[in-house]
Symmetry: C2
Subunit: 207 residues, 2 copies
């Protein structure tokens, strides 16, 4: 094909740093966009955007995310290790600008809830703050932190202990949440936001 382009290992490693970051962050396809809410033992809240939340299992209900402790979300990591609890909150179309802004390097005494215009919300005795503006919120209990030796990141695995949904009409009869009814966005790379349009739902594949 005339317009095709190939990047082999040598070419990837010699790419200019920002170009490589943009390419590799976008090459894996669409990603979830979530706000992770935490609190430290002194009661200071933290909120950070993540695009690496991944489904690990339904029974027990487990989600994971990838964390690089040496970059911005270090408060998230410290707070999760200190308290064992965190929240995962969906990002909706009208929240995108404010949610993106949580990626700025605020210091530990500034809460991104206040700095970026979100409202912390507590549910029963659950320690970590939810994002009131989010229409789908998950309360998570830390289960495991797995070190990825290849680059010093971690897979953080947690169990879903609370699911808070603003409107039960987001759920269909099968139990699936309709992400477009909820207005949840997807992200590509580190900075491009998408509003997915429903194409089709397919039956369980059989031979």
């Amino acid at each position: 094909m005339n317009n095709s382009i190939v990047f082999d290992a040598d070419k990837i490693s010699s790419l200019e740093k920002k170009y490589r970051i943009a390419l590799i962050n976008s090459i894996s396809g669409f990603k979830s966009a979530s706000l992770l809410g935490t609190v430290n033992k002194q009661g200071n809240t933290n909120l950070a955007i993540f695009n690496s939340v991944v489904h690990i299992g339904a029974n027990p209900p487990l989600l994971g995310f990838i964390l690089r402790p040496t970059t911005v979300p270090r408060h998230t990591y410290q707070n999760i290790i200190a308290t064992d609890y965190y929240t995962i909150n969906h990002i909706h179309e009208e929240m995108v600008d404010k949610a993106h802004q949580t990626g700025a390097k605020y210091d530990s005494l500034e809460s991104e809830f206040d700095q970026c215009g979100f409202t912390s919300q507590y549910y029963e005795a659950f320690k970590a703050p939810f994002v009131k503006e989010s229409r789908v919120k998950l309360g998570m209990h830390l289960k495991e932190v797995l070190p990825v030796k290849s680059n010093g990141t971690y897979l953080v695995v947690g169990e879903i202990v609370h699911i808070l949904i603003d409107d039960e009409s987001y759920l269909d009869d099968t139990g699936a949440i309709s992400l477009n009814k909820a207005g949840t966005v997807a992200i590509s790379g580190l900075d491009s936001y998408y509003s997915p349009q429903f194409l089709k739902k397919l039956p369980i594949p059989r031979v």
Copy 2:
């Protein structure tokens, strides 16, 4: 709110199995949809749909995915362990039905390439088969397999050693791939496919 609904841990664990699977698989937001191509030492190819590919790092360029060896994709696992190589291929709108069908339980002598109507394609000396019909294809070299103790799954970590893109116009000046130009789809849960519409690209957030 009148229409809100809450699932706490007890309620989640007592949900009917299929309902719980649908709820938990869809609650984490949009996911990438990829076809993983592998081959065993006898040369039999395998192709399986995955929705758990996650970005781990840009330098070295690493992606992970979650694998449950006891269910359908076990051939994928055996082949990766045996050969150290696999491919990740984007799924585009016109490929959705055939890609979904790769989730059926074909036996080990039947290749999903043939059974589902895809064409295997090889690049230079790279061992694993790419999907010719995919417009964005990644050649992966296995780096680590991390066991998730909480449920017996694995995080499989690989390094991107080849990136094959059908049309260089999918890349913007910054190095980011435009997933909607490529026509790549997103998935929700196990069965719902979406075509994301671009909303906006935001600058690096600063305090």
